[in-house]
């Protein structure tokens, strides 16, 4: 459930990523290729453009409606060529117990917080463990939680692990904060004896770098041994492609080649049916990407948590 998309690099046509490829992000609302699910609980995006007024502050667009029918989004996407992006379509179980609304849309970014966060995954039994996270969240951040999602709490937890003041943060700062947050969540799960498989593919982005996890607690354990047939014991996916720039070359959408990679596209699943130029983020790992003098820097590390 949910699909996430992130980008850092050369200016890219937002409309290409959201609409034009045959498995674009908005296509994944109703026809994702790596899951069998309708993601109908809304859309959110934060897009940074180095050339814009106050480049550290992103363009923000969110809607709790099904984004496929949103003409404003289509119009807006045709005008933006961001250099960094996090976008998310929210998928929840099709039940009247779910809360679909504006306060539950990803990505989250509060006030002048340096970083935004989106998630593909879910913490099992979150209702049981939620308030156990409070001791690890700074009070001024806890008071900003408005919605019902586990993601917003995780965002508060990650922000609370960042150095203060939050200026001049480095990719290493974000990596440490994410690792610390994952470790704290594990502690609480152990204390509460929660041992169900819970995927936590997190993406944080500050407009200059992005850090993502492909991680699952207690992978392979389901309390009733009956995960949905659609899931079939799969490790929630996360893919990336990198190169000079993302564009249509001939009859395919690819990252172009060149002496240096300059751009990275990260997505729950490839944006094209032909996934031959996409590679998987390894399970239980963290990927960090940023640019220096328009050259992409990229690393992955194992998360042995």
């Amino acid at each position: 459930m949910c699909r996430v998309l992130a980008y850092v690099g050369e200016p890219v046509d937002l409309e290409d990523l959201l609409y034009r490829t045959d498995s674009s992000l908005l296509h994944q609302v109703y026809d994702p290729h790596l899951m069998s699910f309708l993601n109908l609980a809304g859309f959110g995006m934060m897009a940074w453009d180095e050339r814009s007024h106050e480049p550290s502050v992103p363009f923000v667009y969110k809607t709790a409606e099904i984004p496929t029918f949103d003409r404003n989004l289509r119009s807006l996407s045709g005008k933006l060529r961001p250099t960094s992006l996090v976008a998310h379509i929210r998928g929840v179980t099709h039940s009247d117990r779910e809360v679909v609304g504006p306060y539950n849309l990803h990505p989250f970014r509060w006030g002048d917080a340096p970083v935004a966060l989106a998630q593909n995954g879910t913490l099992s039994a979150f209702g049981t463990m939620r308030y156990d996270l409070l001791p690890y969240i700074r009070p001024e951040l806890a008071s900003q939680i408005e919605g019902t999602t586990d993601t917003e709490w995780i965002y508060a937890l990650v922000l609370s692990q960042l150095p203060t003041p939050a200026a001049g943060l480095t990719p290493e700062d974000y990596e440490r904060a994410l690792v610390a947050a994952l470790e704290l969540i594990r502690e609480v799960r152990v204390r509460r004896k929660i041992a169900d498989s819970s995927a936590l593919n997190l993406v944080v982005c500050d407009g200059r770098c992005l850090v993502a996890t492909r991680f699952t607690y207690d992978y392979g354990w389901h309390k009733d041994d009956l995960p949905s047939l659609a899931q079939r014991f799969k490790f929630v996916s996360l893919w990336f492609t990198s190169g000079s720039a993302y564009r249509r070359i001939g009859d395919e959408w690819v990252m172009g080649g060149g002496e240096h990679d300059r751009s990275l596209l990260l997505s729950s699943e490839p944006l094209t049916s032909d996934a031959s130029t996409w590679v998987e983020v390894p399970e239980y790992s963290m990927l960090t990407a940023w640019t220096e003098d328009r050259v992409l820097r990229l690393r992955t590390r194992d998360l042995d948590l």
Binding site: W221, F233, G243, M255, T277
Partner: protein, 316 residues
């Protein structure tokens, strides 16, 4: 022409076990092909509809990488069979094949191969058994490329006692990919094994050793890693319905990987003897088992190739 085609099939790595009547039957369905140097035999992403038996020449098998790069997976030549894995698991080609020099061989269509594979005659099973060993050899070659070693690494931990499989275990097994097509044969296969319960971090297979049992994850996960000093490169994450270790069981060499429980896990375990008996047997349970092993091995090889692609994509 018929005898020529039969000869080419008999010399191939996959069909050498067929008896003369089956070779003759398969030869009727094969068509010759010629490919000039530089031309593509098939392209990554194409629908998989044929397999190829090579008589002469040489091909590079390559996979695309991000940024308009590619990764050489292997070179193949006379006697090799190409394109058969995609026919087994269905879908699209996971690599491209390009002629390095003028190449000729035989093309066999999907229907003919499927009929052979699912045939109730002994040779259907023989082809699948041979295919499992072909895939095993490719997997070992992939491990070698990634630096897999046979020097003794971490010692095997004692996983503790084995348990008899419970009724809910068997129900659970029937939902897992490895066992999903056993049907009424599952109780017979399951009765030959036990359940091992292991804690996270338990070492189950040591690099440089020959595994003493065949394992399939029931719950949790086991990872197969190549260990280079302090660094570990995960080759496979075997979640529910997947096996972490084939090398050293299905072939003669030692295991180049360490298998370690990544999560607390329940494992279906078959002794080495029982595994061999199922692999080499001729009854229906054996056929189902060989089919399951082959499909899982193909997924293992795919995972390993993807891992190598990721390593190359994250270049310094």
């Amino acid at each position: 022409m018929g005898a020529y085609i039969e000869g080419a099939l008999a010399a191939s790595s996959l069909f050498s076990d067929l008896d003369p009547s089956e070779l003759e039957e398969l030869a009727r369905l094969a068509e010759p092909f010629d490919l000039p140097a530089g031309d593509l035999l098939f392209r990554q992403g194409d629908r998989a509809e044929q397999l190829y038996v090579l008589e002469a020449g040489r091909l590079d098998v390559v996979a695309r990488l991000p940024g308009d790069r590619e990764m050489l997976l292997s070179q193949v030549g006379a006697g090799d069979v190409l394109g058969e894995l995609s026919l087994v698991v269905g879908g699209t080609r996971t690599a491209s094949a390009r002629a390095v020099e003028t190449t000729r061989g035989l093309v066999i269509g999907q229907d003919a191969f499927s009929r052979l594979r699912t045939s109730l005659r002994p040779t259907g099973a023989a082809v699948m058994r041979r295919l499992s060993r072909v895939v095993c050899a490719r997997l070992r070659a992939r491990c070698d490329t990634l630096g897999g070693g046979t020097s003794p690494g971490a010692e095997v931990d004692d996983p503790g006692g084995a348990h008899a499989l419970q009724a809910d275990d068997r129900i659970h097994m029937s939902r897992l990919d490895f066992f999903a097509h056993f049907g009424r044969l599952l109780p017979e296969v399951a009765s030959r094994g036990v359940r091992l319960d292991v804690e996270r971090g338990t070492v189950l297979v040591r690099a440089g050793s020959h595994p003493d049992r065949f394992l399939v994850t029931l719950r949790g996960a086991v990872e197969a890693t190549i260990e280079l000093g302090a660094a570990r490169q995960r080759l496979r994450l075997a979640g529910p319905g997947r096996a972490p270790a084939y090398l050293g069981l299905l072939d003669d060499g030692p295991s180049p990987v360490v298998c370690r429980a990544r999560e607390t896990a329940h494992l279906f375990a078959l002794s080495r003897t029982d595994f061999a008996a199922l692999i080499d047997g001729h009854d229906q349970a054996s056929r189902a088992f060989v089919d399951a092993v082959t499909q899982d091995l193909i997924s293992y090889l795919t995972q390993a190739e993807r891992r190598q692609a990721t390593i190359l994509a994250v270049r310094p």
